[in-house]
Every structure is written in C-alpha cells, then in structure tokens.
Symmetry: D2
Subunit: 384 residues, 4 copies
Amino acid sequence: MPEINVALLGYKFMGKAHSNAYRQVGHFFPSKFTPRLRVICGRDRAAVEAAARQFGWEEVETDWRKVIERKDIDVVDVSTPGHVHAAQAIAAAEAGKHIICEKPLANTLADAQAMLKAVEKAGVKHMLMHNYRKIPAVVFAKRLVEDGKLGDIYHYHGAYLQDWIMDPNFPLVWRLEKKYAGSGALGDIGSHAADLARYLNSEVDSVVGHMTTFIKERPLPGAGAGAWGAKGSQGKGKVTVDDDTNFLARFKNGSAGVFESSRFCGGRRNYNTFQMYGSKGSIAFNLERMNELEFYDRTDPQAEQAYKTIMVTESVHPYVAAWWPPGHIIGYEHTFVHAVHDFLMALEKDTLPSPNFTDGVKNQAILDAVERSAKSGKWEKVKP
Amino acid sequence: MPEINVALLGYKFMGKAHSNAYRQVGHFFPSKFTPRLRVICGRDRAAVEAAARQFGWEEVETDWRKVIERKDIDVVDVSTPGHVHAAQAIAAAEAGKHIICEKPLANTLADAQAMLKAVEKAGVKHMLMHNYRKIPAVVFAKRLVEDGKLGDIYHYHGAYLQDWIMDPNFPLVWRLEKKYAGSGALGDIGSHAADLARYLNSEVDSVVGHMTTFIKERPLPGAGAGAWGAKGSQGKGKVTVDDDTNFLARFKNGSAGVFESSRFCGGRRNYNTFQMYGSKGSIAFNLERMNELEFYDRTDPQAEQAYKTIMVTESVHPYVAAWWPPGHIIGYEHTFVHAVHDFLMALEKDTLPSPNFTDGVKNQAILDAVERSAKSGKWEKVKP
Amino acid sequence: MPEINVALLGYKFMGKAHSNAYRQVGHFFPSKFTPRLRVICGRDRAAVEAAARQFGWEEVETDWRKVIERKDIDVVDVSTPGHVHAAQAIAAAEAGKHIICEKPLANTLADAQAMLKAVEKAGVKHMLMHNYRKIPAVVFAKRLVEDGKLGDIYHYHGAYLQDWIMDPNFPLVWRLEKKYAGSGALGDIGSHAADLARYLNSEVDSVVGHMTTFIKERPLPGAGAGAWGAKGSQGKGKVTVDDDTNFLARFKNGSAGVFESSRFCGGRRNYNTFQMYGSKGSIAFNLERMNELEFYDRTDPQAEQAYKTIMVTESVHPYVAAWWPPGHIIGYEHTFVHAVHDFLMALEKDTLPSPNFTDGVKNQAILDAVERSAKSGKWEKVKP
Amino acid sequence: MPEINVALLGYKFMGKAHSNAYRQVGHFFPSKFTPRLRVICGRDRAAVEAAARQFGWEEVETDWRKVIERKDIDVVDVSTPGHVHAAQAIAAAEAGKHIICEKPLANTLADAQAMLKAVEKAGVKHMLMHNYRKIPAVVFAKRLVEDGKLGDIYHYHGAYLQDWIMDPNFPLVWRLEKKYAGSGALGDIGSHAADLARYLNSEVDSVVGHMTTFIKERPLPGAGAGAWGAKGSQGKGKVTVDDDTNFLARFKNGSAGVFESSRFCGGRRNYNTFQMYGSKGSIAFNLERMNELEFYDRTDPQAEQAYKTIMVTESVHPYVAAWWPPGHIIGYEHTFVHAVHDFLMALEKDTLPSPNFTDGVKNQAILDAVERSAKSGKWEKVKP
C-alpha cells in the first residue's frame, strides 16, 4: 500500500487527536493509501519531541516553513491556532501539498477566502476538519434527510454549550484572545453548530445575533501554561472574545433557525446538540451521547408515533461495520479516523474531500454575519 | 366555610380545566373559602348546558353581561378567546367582581393596560392563569433561584414546541385567526415561555425576533367545528397568525436569552421547556415530564458534578403534601387546582394573587416588542 | 342518571384515592350510573369525620357491620388493611352488595379463596383494585401484546422498588406487621408486579424466591401515628415482614420471568417497572413516568430499529380522550378514576369487572408459592 | 522503553480488540514497558495473515504450541474459544510466559482451577480480561463503594441482555455449542454480570437459577462462516447452550442479588447494566451509555435527593486524564487499553494484575453453581 507522508503542524489537543487518526485509520479502514506520520512541528522543541514520542511521529521540526518546503511531504495538517491557519495553508498550497485544516478555517472571512483561492489555484486536495460531520449518527441523520424522511424542514435548533471557563480564575489562554482565536464561543463551538446546520439543513440567508462576555478580565496564564487551563498568576488581562453568542437564522430553504453557543452553561461538558423538524419527521442529537440519534416519524400510526432513540451502532450504519458489533460504542476520536479515511478515499478516487475549504468560507461567512449583526443590532445577510 | 360564588365565561378546553380546579381544590387544599360553581356562560345554549352537567355548574347563561350584573357572583373567570377578554374583564371589574383571567391577558398591549387600570381602579383581586407557574417543579426551581443555588444567571433558554397543526388540512380554527387570537405560536405558547422567564429569571430589556407562517391557507372549519380540529370542508381561508416565532432577549439582570415557540415541531406534544444557567448551578425542565426538575450544582465535588433528575414529588416540595406519597405523580390539571388555591388564599389573607394583571401587561409588552421586531428587523425595547 | 350508593371502609391513603375517583368519574367519563358518596367508615370517629368533610362523603360510621347492613348501599368499597378484607368482603357479599376491594385481596390464599366463593355464591359484582392495570400506557401495552406486536414472549422482568422505610427509625407501622399486612414488600408491591405480569404476559407455573428483612427491629409507633411514618418513641418491636423479596418464574407460555420487590432501594420512590421481550417486539414501562411506554419493533428496518418513548397521551390511547389534549399528562389518581369507570360500565352492561376476585386468588397463589419457596429453598408450583 | 513481546492466540472479535489495545496503550498511557505485537496465531493461515496485516502483527503462526515454545515471547494472550483456554494457558504457564486470558477463564470449574494452579506454580503474571472492570464509570463506582458512599449494601441487580441471535435462522456458530463455548448466555454475558457483582459488591454465597433455550435447532453454518452470523445452509444442528439464564443470589455481605442474562431481549444491543442499593446511596450503570454513572446520595437534603447522571469524563475520573477533555466520550475498545495498561503496570511494579485467574476460578464457581441449580431446582452453594 502506498504511503502518504504527513506533516502535522501543532501538537496539543488537536495534534493528539489527528495523530491518533493517522495511526489508526489503516487498522480499521484498510484502503489503498496508508498515512505515514513523518514529521510533527511546533515552536517548543522539547514539547514537540515529547509529543512525537507519544503520538508516534518519526521526526520533529520547529519551523513550519521548513516542513512545507520538504519534498517528501504529501499532506500538511494544520492543527495550529486560527491566526496562523492562513499563512500556513496558503504556503502549503503553493508548495503543492494536500491540506487538512482544523476548524474554523480562519479567523476572518477574508483569510478564509484567500485560503480557498490558494488551494483552488494549486489544485491540491483540501479538507476542513469539521469532525462532527463524521459521527455515524450525524451521517445517518443526513441520510434520513436525503431520503426525504423529514420532508420539508420547518425549524432547526442548534446549541453547542460547554462550561470549561466558568471559573473566573481560569486564565486568559489563547482561546480567549481575539488576536489568536478570532472569536470565542462563536468561532470555537458555534462554528460547529453552524456547520452541522449547513450539512443537514440548508445554506443560511441571514442572521441576527448577540454576543456577551460575562467575565471581562482574567488572570494571565503563567509561563508554560497549557491551553486547557493551568492557572496563571501574573496579573490580569482583558478577555477579548465572546463567552456566549446566540443567533436567529433564516435558512435559504425557508426554515427558521435558532442557535446557541456558550461556554458558561454549567454541567454541559460538550453539549453539541441539534433538533430538526420537518413535515414528515424530526431528529435530535446530542454529542454527549454521540452513538444515539433520536428520530420521530410522522408517518407512523398515530398511537405509535414517538421519538426513537436509535443506537447508531449497527453494521448498516455509516462507518460502523469497521469497528465493533452492535451496541459496542465508539468515542470522540473515532470521528477523526473517519475524516482521515474519507480524505484517503478522496485521494484514491481523485475527488474533493468533504467538508473542505469551500465549506470553511461559507461557515466563516455565517460567523462574519453574526459578528456584524451583534454590532448593527439588526439582521445581516450572509455574504457572499 | 364561606362559599365563593364563581361564574365561568367559556366552557371548552380551559372551561373544563378551570371547572375541575374549582371542584377539586377544597378536597385537597381545605381552606377558609370554598368555591361554588354557580353559573357557566357561553353563546351556544345546548353546548353550555351539556358542559354545565358534565363539569358540575348549577346554572347556565348565554349572555356574559347578565352574568356580570348578578349580585350573587363573587368571582368572574374569563376563559374565553383573547379578543373578548378586555371587554369582559373590564365590565367585571366595574361590577366589583374579583377576576381570574386566562392567558394571554389580551390580544394587544393597549387592551392589557386598560384591563390592569380597571382592576386597580375597582380594587378587586385579579389573577392571570399562567398555570405553569403552579407546577411543583417550577415553584421548586424558583426556590432554588431565590436561595442563590444558581448564583448569577448567564444564559436562559425557553422553548415551547407543539405539533398539533402540522397537518395542512387542519382547519382554520379561531386560534389561527389574528382577530380572535391576537397571534399564533407567540401568544399561545411563547407567552408561557416568556412568563416563566420573567418568573424565574428577570424582566426583559429588549428582544429581536422573527415570525413565520408555513401553511398560509387552511380549510375553513365546518359549522360546529371545535377548537381542536374537527376538519372543515367549506373552502379555504387565510392563516393570519404565526406558526413559529423565535426571539433573542437581553434580560435586565445581564443574562442572555433565547426563545423558541412553534406549532410545527413534530413529536413535541407539549414541550414547554427551559434551561437556566448560572454561576453556581443550572436547572432544566420539560412539561412533558412535569414531575421532574433537573438540577446541576457547581459546588459539588468535581467527580460528582452532574445533573440530577429530581422527582419533585416529596412532601417538602411545593403543593405536594396535599396530594400523594413520594413518587406518585400528578398531572396537567393539578396546576389549575394550585392556582385556585393560591387565589383563595389571597382572598383569605387579603393580598394580591400572583401572577396577576400586572404580569399580564408585562408579558404582553414582551410579545408586543417581538412583533415590532419581526417587522423592523432589529432589536426592540420592551416597553413600558 | 341513576345513582349508585357507595360505602367506603377505610379513610387513609386508599380512602383518599378511592373517594377522589367516585367524585371525579362522572365529570370525565359520563355514563349511565353516577356514584354517590354515601357513607365512609372507620373506627376513629373524629378522624373519619374529618375525612368525610375533606373527601366529600355524606355520612360517617364507625362500625363496618352496620354499614353493610344498610339497605341503601349498593357498593361496598373495602380499603382497609388486608387482615380484615376477608371478613368485610364476605359479609358484604352475603348482604348482596357489589364490592370493590383494595389489593392484595387477602393476607392468605385461603382467605382469598373464601372471598371469591362468597361473591360468586352471592352473584354480586366484584372488582379488585389493581389500579395500575388502568394506566393508559399499560392498557396500550396490553393492546400491543394482543395485536401480536410482541410475537412470542421470551423474557419478562418486573421490578417494583421503593425506599420509604430505609430509615431504621421509621416506626413499626401496620404495614410492617405480618398479622395486619400478611407480608411486606411481597404483598404490598410485589403483588402489583405479579398482577401486571399475569395481565400482560401469562399465568405463572412455578416460582423460586427469597425474602430478606434488613432492619429486624423498629421503634413502636406513637399513639395516633399514621401509616406513613410518624416517628414513635415507645420502645422497639419486631419487624415480621420482608423488606425485599425477589423471585424467578416459569410462565405457562414458556417465557422466563424475573421479579424484584424491595422497599430498600434508595432513590426509587415508586419504581414499578416492567420489560417484556418477544420474538417481534419489546416494551418497557416505569410508573414514575407513567404517561410513557417504550416500544421496540423488530420488524422495523434494521437501521431504524430502536426503542420509542411513546407519550401515551393521544386521543387514540386508552382513556385519554376523556382528559386533555396530547402531551398534557395525567397522574396517579387517574388510575382509580379509570377503574371506577370500568366498574360502572360493568354494572351498566351487566358484565364482570376486571380485574376481580378471581385475579385476586390467582395473584395470592403466586405470593403463596413465593413464600413457600422462600422456606423450602426450591421451586414451588403456583396452585391451584 | 523496554519492549514486551506479545503473542496473540486468536484473531477474530477479541483478537481485534486486544490488538488495538497493544498498539494504542503507549500512545495514551506511556509507561516503562511497551508491547510489541510479535506474532499472531490461528489455524487458517490466510485469515491470520490478513489479520496480521490489518491489526499490525509482525509474524504469523498456525500452531499455537510453536508460539508458546518461542523464547522471544514474554506474554501469551489467549483470545480463543473457551474450550482451548486450559490447554493453551497451562502450556504457556509451563513455558514461563505471562498470560492475558479472555473470559470466561474456562468452560468448566475444574479447568479453571487447573489453570490457576499452573500459573501459580509457574510464578507468572496472569490477567483475566474482564474488560468491563476497566470502564472509568465502573472504576469510579468501585471508588464510591470503597469510600462508603453507598453504606451497607442491600440489593444488587445485574442484567446483561443482548439480541443478536433472536433470528431463528441465525446459524449454529461455536458460541451456541456447549463443547466449544461451555454455556450460552450464562458464560458469555452472565459471567460479566457476575464478575461486576463480585468486583463491586461481594462474593456470592449461593444461587438458584433457571436456564432456557428458546430456539432448539439452528442452521449449520456454511464453510467459512464467521462467529457473528454468516448464514449457513447445510441442514440443522442442535443448540446445546442456554439462550436465557437468570438467577437469584445471596451475597456473603448479606445483600440480595438478582441476575438476568439473555440473548433474546429485542432492542438490547449490549445492555450490560447494574443497579446497587445501599443504606447511604445507590448507583446504576448501563454499558450502552458507558461514559455515564447514575448516583443517588441519601445524605443529600430531602428536597434535592435524586439520581445524578454523572458524565465520567473528568480528568479526576479513573483513566480519563489520558484521553480527552471533559465530555469527549470514549468507547468500547478503550476498556482493553486500560486493561493492558494495568497489566503493564503490574509488570513494572511486580504485582499481580487484577482481575486474574483467581477471579476466573471464583467466577466459574458461580456459573457452576447456577448450572447445578438449574438441574437440581434448588439453591446451590458456590464452592469452593
């Protein structure tokens, strides 16, 4: 099986998840191409070397430009904070590398558009790691929608709620600074909710939203503090992103949309949920129980109409046959394995992976309209 | 025990529920005053006579003005469609009657304000039948909030979803005509969601919303068709109310609000839900499981932090001791019994019942702002 | 509408629930006969008078034999502790009264058989108040079974778990004394589980069980202590009934049965549950969410096979049309209203109500076999 | 890091799961020892070679005795059907290999005892792969029990229900033949339920049970049919194991036990559940939602007593810190990773892994007593 040489930029939470996907994909989804974990890159050499050892990478690099220059690299995986996505992805495209990029594609719509232009010009494969599209229950939901089981869609609600920064002493990590993260709840988790809505329902015509920051100052992280909350002690800094962003949407298919994203909802650890209501059926999903999909079929006999809690763990469900027998659940990291499998299949069949940078631009356009609306106080068109 | 002579205007769904409350209250909540079901009133004599027999009323009347003129009536219960509330309640107030009025208080803010003015001028007791405030789980939620168990509130989501008019052949009953009902999903069920938010969280500063009508024409109801869907056959008429209304809110306490109301959410039979997130705790409720309240306490040890599903059926919970032992659940109509009990206690103690017409005006002001916003496309202040 | 004159023996928990049923039935299920709450009977005159006032009975009596002698009584309702059921029911039968009797029918199989013989000899109507058979979800479950939706039954699990006597200081009320209650968890709640199994599945061929008493001594109740736990202070007495009884069953239809009953399962307030598994489908029920029935249909397409949570609140579901619109739930006491309605319909149609004393004997035969097995340590036939 | 050379006997369902664990453990739980996937063994060379490629093994062997003779193997993993466990494990012990053995340890108590004797004599490390002990929620449950959060235990219910052989045309695979599998539901899944009860609650004193086979004949599997159901077509054969086995237990700590195991419970894909009730608290678990643990604390204030649904995905929960942030769930195969990690730590610290062959003997003694009881029709002591 031909090897695909991968270079990974970034080595923390996403680096760990992507590394696992490259290692595991061939053991469960054997296909023509096998990823080879060639080089992992980050600025802190000691930390990257530790990551390389643990995650199984052959080599270490501290300068991402050198990585992209290497002739022996086929795929560049951009798993860095959002503010460097554009530079890295555009350079990789210009070097003719295929690209897998973490979401959100960029911190601004302009950057996202430039990235799309670059990959299209270079003719490389590009994938956006909206990994929740790769959950069996979500793909199965998509199949129900496409099979017409929901009929015409009337109402869509997406909510992605977390609680990991509720403590006012949680430090000012990069995800809380606009210059690195672009936005807060909106870009980090609201973007997932928007992406699932585009995937399952329809493009968005216009939005109106509001953004709130509850804790306006936080302790600066100590030297070496990690992204996930080592508590700092060197004074305070200003939080420059939103803690909580909600918006209404008008979808192009005529349905009404309601979106919530918040990092201040206690007890919601990773509550990425949607409910979708159509003339023939409804579905509901919650990432915290990601092996399940609720489905209501209005065409059932009246006395038996009800939400079913489908365990999406049957061999006939998407991706499942590669794993375990019915009822043996899978977890978070499996979504990345599925995504990498899809990417490899796109290479094999010479098609464009999905979702890709086009989705990234469209997603960014929604976030952009929400931010404009939060300032203007009125409905804003999603454009272009 | 002195009797309180009640006259009931209206005899359908709400008439049935209110009648039950008057009959039952003394058997479970014995107090100084006992309601006497004196006279029930409606325009269709045969139908009202049948209702009187079934619901236990002594007399029947077809002209509500005559009822209000009677000297032997202490309380007038207004359970008619919204467009006649104002005339009936104002006349009752002027006649010195205490009033229990179904929600929404009126179809317009101006009417609601006139009604409040009338009862205040007359000095009569007035209650607004937002019965869901009288659910033990909801009152218990209020107690948790007041005890500070939730801390500062960050985020509130209220959704009242139903599905009873999804069939395009469901007829154009009065609830689908603006001239009778004022609005559709917004006034009928969104008003409940708004009331619970005001009760549990805070007054609303401003809103932005959108209203959608999916089925724009419906069959006219046949002669004698009931409110709940006898299918008509005499041509079609225009639906003049909203099927689906959603809005964002800024609460006066600084929290962010998200509201959904829809009659087009398949499988949601009576899905009146809220989730409320604060710095110390969170709660969640669903009317379809109205004997339960979910509660998350951020002050629990980290390893044990989780949502509890509290069965609000203990003798220490509000209203419960009057009913059955723990775990023996109560149902929908019990909320009206509790409301009437509270009304009788207000008579006994000479206090104002809660909620009352002041709440009705404030609720109507929110609905009014949502309607203005749906037209203006921007945030609107809730006023006055 | 002709009145049916009812006399009620007993005035505590069950007296309250039965009284409510007699008062309410005509308001929701109008039929030929209307119950008249003629006389309520208990030994403590002051307490019975208070009950009569609250529950709506016309007269009070302290000697049950006098009640039964009265010519103007049509129905005697036996809601007393189990050790007096036989004497009261047999006397009532001999006096030609129809009888509604609380469960368990008697404390011994011999008593139950004598009671059945008496009512059959007298030719009176007799009903056993296994009220949980009258839950819409349970009757709907029965309908699914009868329609063959479950196919051949393989496995049945019934568990009725509570926790109200876990506190070792809870006093030795009559329900904890064998001479009054016959048995503990077995007769009080296990009998419900057994009755539902007979109703839904099959007669029982044989059983093997074990009975455990965890708290062997308890405080004696103070003078005037109620059945539900006023704490006493006059020394200790021996608990003579089981706290926890479980048994295996072989059903006559070949299915395997597993039963649990316990009053020592913390957090299970009123956890009367069953799961029933057949070749074509499965169902599951929990009394704490008594408006719901879970149903799994093996004939669904594989990808959509799943448990549905049916809200049994549709007008097409048993008893529901008489109450409220879909999604408006009912509670515990409604089961008694349904039972009284069925009783009145049996009078109207001159049929035998169901369940009745024959069911009581068969139920008692199961309990008897469990008790024998707990002593013998082996499987015992249910006889006769 | 020193390598531990592993040989795997068996290459199907369990072979796949164990292989994954050896590959993954070092990437998430770095420790002194790293497993090296040296050789995989099975009788069908082509199939084993395919497995080796997919699962990542260096070499292939078809004769297990040759594998065991190899000097370069440190650990022999026995993942074959039960009837060869004893021969393989005893030979491996005699060759001085450490052993990881799939459950049940053997098909008979005598075999299990011989295996234990062999490993003890040889002084090798031995582990029994009761992988469900390695679920974070289960280990956390154990911690709650050990911390006294449940108090004295009164009642334990374990049920492991599946439905994968309900189709009468499902073929007679080895798991349905006594000579290979020892027993059916009892040994395959009931043994898991018994193991969890021993782990969490107490040793078992005595049991009474019944075993049922609903489908007594099945199609013979075609040549090359797999374990999981390729449908055969060469006549029919007799099913010699139980489809459904239930038993009552008396635990040595005085608590009452109820156990169900069945492969005929439609809709229960992998429903390994337990509920455990003590004087201070209760817990409940369901493998289908294996990232959650329900916990009820009787010491909470009365109004707040309720089951919590704890997401056992916090860094303070067992094993979790090695994986992902809170709310990012793990799946079935992670349990094997944890087990292998524990095994490696036992090597590092020179302690005995847990569970091990002693647990296997004790578990087998329970199964043996259940089988004896199913024949004798009475309670049987678990011995020795």
